[in-house]
């Protein structure tokens, strides 16, 4: 029986103490270089930056100098605000973008209408929408969410469309041969066939959402991690800048990982293929 076992790339998976040590050395080296350049390098530019020890002490302090650490309520309020905005925008983008992309790929007329409009609006970088969004929406909150939504929406729609387009004609033909109706084709061919691309799009959308959320918060918000970073800069609370950045990286990474995990769960068939080809 010629069932092939998914082979794994030996680049990452094999456990080896030496390899682990290299990784540790890399991380330690990075932190050391950072510390050394801030503290001992006689270059002004570096000396202005916060050093890693300062940052860590502030981050885990029960009584932080600048008001933000893992023991303060504020820290979590800001994380909550950012996450909340990112998720609301992301889900709006998914709810609107995935169906739009699918219909654009499925029905030529929908594509004709929608593509020219998207083509008109897409070249404008989402962050250029910030001022107009503030003018259009009552209050800053919906404006920031709108801008964040916009990026995620474009990414989701375009990737879904690409996904539908990439489905070979023969799958449609096979389904119609076997007696599938138009709705069956949508459910059994179009949606599952576009799924890998949709999830690629969702990952990109999640990344893009955080990307513009930060800018939106820096420009116009009163809460959130982007606001923390910018406020810390203005108030000369430099270690807090790095705390904000690191937290952003962490939260952003976690949300992307979650999307990826969900995708792999939903697409057992696709993972098998990836397994064979790496």
């Amino acid at each position: 029986m010629a069932i092939q076992n998914p082979t794994k790339s030996n680049f990452r998976t094999e456990f080896d103490v030496n390899k682990l040590l290299l990784t540790l050395a890399g991380i330690c080296g990075f932190i050391f270089l950072w510390h050394a350049s801030v503290k001992w390098l006689p270059v002004d530019a570096f000396n202005r930056l916060p050093d890693p020890i300062e940052v860590v002490i502030e981050w885990v302090s029960t009584d932080p100098d600048y008001g933000i650490s893992i023991f303060t309520e504020d820290y979590y309020i800001h994380i909550f605000y950012s996450t909340y905005r990112a998720l609301v925008s992301f889900f709006l983008a998914v709810i609107l973008g995935v169906p739009l992309g699918i219909f654009m790929g499925w029905k030529g007329s929908v594509y004709d209408y929608a593509n020219s409009l998207l083509g008109l609006l897409r070249p404008v970088p989402p962050l250029a929408w910030v001022p107009i969004a503030i003018l259009m929406f009552p209050g800053v909150e919906p404006a920031v969410v709108f801008v964040t939504f916009l990026v995620a929406f474009f990414a989701t729609t375009m990737n879904t469309l690409v996904g539908v387009r990439s489905i070979p004609d023969d799958y449609y033909r096979a389904a119609s041969c076997l007696g599938a109706s138009s709705i069956d084709v949508l459910r059994d061919v179009v949606i599952p066939g576009a799924m890998p691309s949709i999830f690629t799009g969702l990952q990109i959308a999640m990344g893009a959402a955080w990307f513009s959320l930060v800018a939106g918060e820096m420009i116009a918000a009163q809460y959130g991690l982007g606001f923390v970073i910018w406020e810390a800069y203005n108030l000369i609370q430099y270690p807090t800048i790095v705390i904000g950045m690191a937290t952003l990286g962490l939260v952003g990474y976690l949300s992307s990982a979650l999307v990826r995990l969900l995708g792999n769960k939903l697409m057992a068939w696709h993972e098998q293929r990836l397994g064979l080809h790496t």
């Binding site: 680049f11 390899k19 290299l22 990784t23 050395a25 890399g26 991380i27 080296g29 530019a45 570096f46 202005r48 930056l49 007329s109 004709d112 209408y113 929608a114 593509n115 020219s116 409009l117 008109l120 070249p123 404008v124 970088p125 989402p126 962050l127 250029a128 929408w129 910030v130 001022p131 107009i132 503030i134 003018l135 259009m136 990344g207 955080w210 990307f211 513009s212 959320l213 930060v214 800018a215 820096m218 420009i219 991690l225 982007g226 970073i229 910018w230 810390a232 800069y233 430099y238 800048i241 790095v242 904000g244 950045m245 690191a246 952003l248 990286g249 962490l250 952003g252 990474y253 992307s256």
Partner: protein, 266 residues
């Protein structure tokens, strides 16, 4: 064959029908709705200028204004410098990460730690670090494109078939020749993808960075329109930015065609 032939009149009708009327009507509809929304002051449109006002503003205040074209030039320069720096550093880094397992294990974890940080979160540190405003904006632009480019090259190198390398080795090729004859051609498509994604991101980043922390460029122009309560300027800015971004994409596209003639010639 009566059914096979079509009369001249029919052909003309077909030509006419082949115009994307739906697309055209959608675009016209968009501007029409915008204009009407402004005239009838729909919710949210009280402060928005009509398309007509925007065109008027553009012709009267911008088309012949030096300051406007200088903004174009400044933003373009920042995008270009940040983008090129990201290519110059990202391509070799991606190649090393993909070819040397030791280097990969040493550097990649740090790289992956920094990658999820949104580029604009670097703004404050960048301002602190760089003595000039120009330097900090270019640095942020660079950050925006750098991670994407590196990751794409890295994936490109890893997708090279082992067989090709083995074949070359068995034919007596040394490290340099393998790099030159197998690695480089194989990563060209990856470089192209990195360029396309990179140019889009750099425009995004430049605009935001200019809004947050600069006194020049198209992003600043747009933001100033908002601050000085002249909404038509905001929209002129947006359209200019969109157009500039589109122009860069076209230029990158032309480069890619040059780089990969096999992909575009039939």
């Amino acid at each position: 064959m009566p059914s096979g032939k079509i009369s001249l009149a029919d052909r003309w009708i077909m030509k006419f029908a082949s115009i994307n009327w739906r697309g055209l009507s959608a675009v016209i509809g968009f501007f029409l709705v915008w204009q009407l929304a402004v005239i009838f002051e729909f919710a949210g449109f009280q402060e928005i200028p009509s398309p007509w006002q925007v065109i008027n503003t553009f012709f009267s205040d911008f088309l012949f204004s030096d300051k406007y074209w200088v903004s174009w030039f400044i933003s373009f320069k920042r995008v270009l410098v940040g983008f090129l720096l990201a290519q110059i550093m990202g391509v070799p880094l991606g190649l090393f990460l993909g070819t040397s397992p030791t280097f990969y294990r040493l550097v990649f974890p740090v790289f992956e730690m920094l990658r999820p940080i949104p580029p604009l979160a670097w703004v404050p540190l960048s301002i602190l670090f760089w003595p000039t405003n120009e330097g900090s904006i270019i640095f942020i632009t660079f950050i925006g494109a750098f991670f994407i480019i590196t990751i794409n090259i890295f994936d490109g190198v890893r997708s090279i078939k082992k067989e090709h390398v083995w074949l070359a080795r068995s034919l007596g090729a040394g490290n340099f020749r393998i790099f030159h004859k197998i690695m480089l051609p194989a990563v060209i498509p990856a470089i192209a993808v990195g360029m396309t994604l990179g140019i889009a991101v750099t425009w995004n980043v430049v605009i935001a960075a200019e809004m947050i922390a600069s006194d020049s460029g198209l992003g600043r122009l747009t933001w100033e329109g908002y601050v000085s309560s002249t909404p038509p300027v905001v929209i002129v800015g947006m359209i200019s930015i969109g157009f500039a971004g589109y122009l860069s994409t076209v230029i990158v596209d032309i480069f890619e065609r040059r780089m990969m003639p096999w992909k575009y010639k039939k």
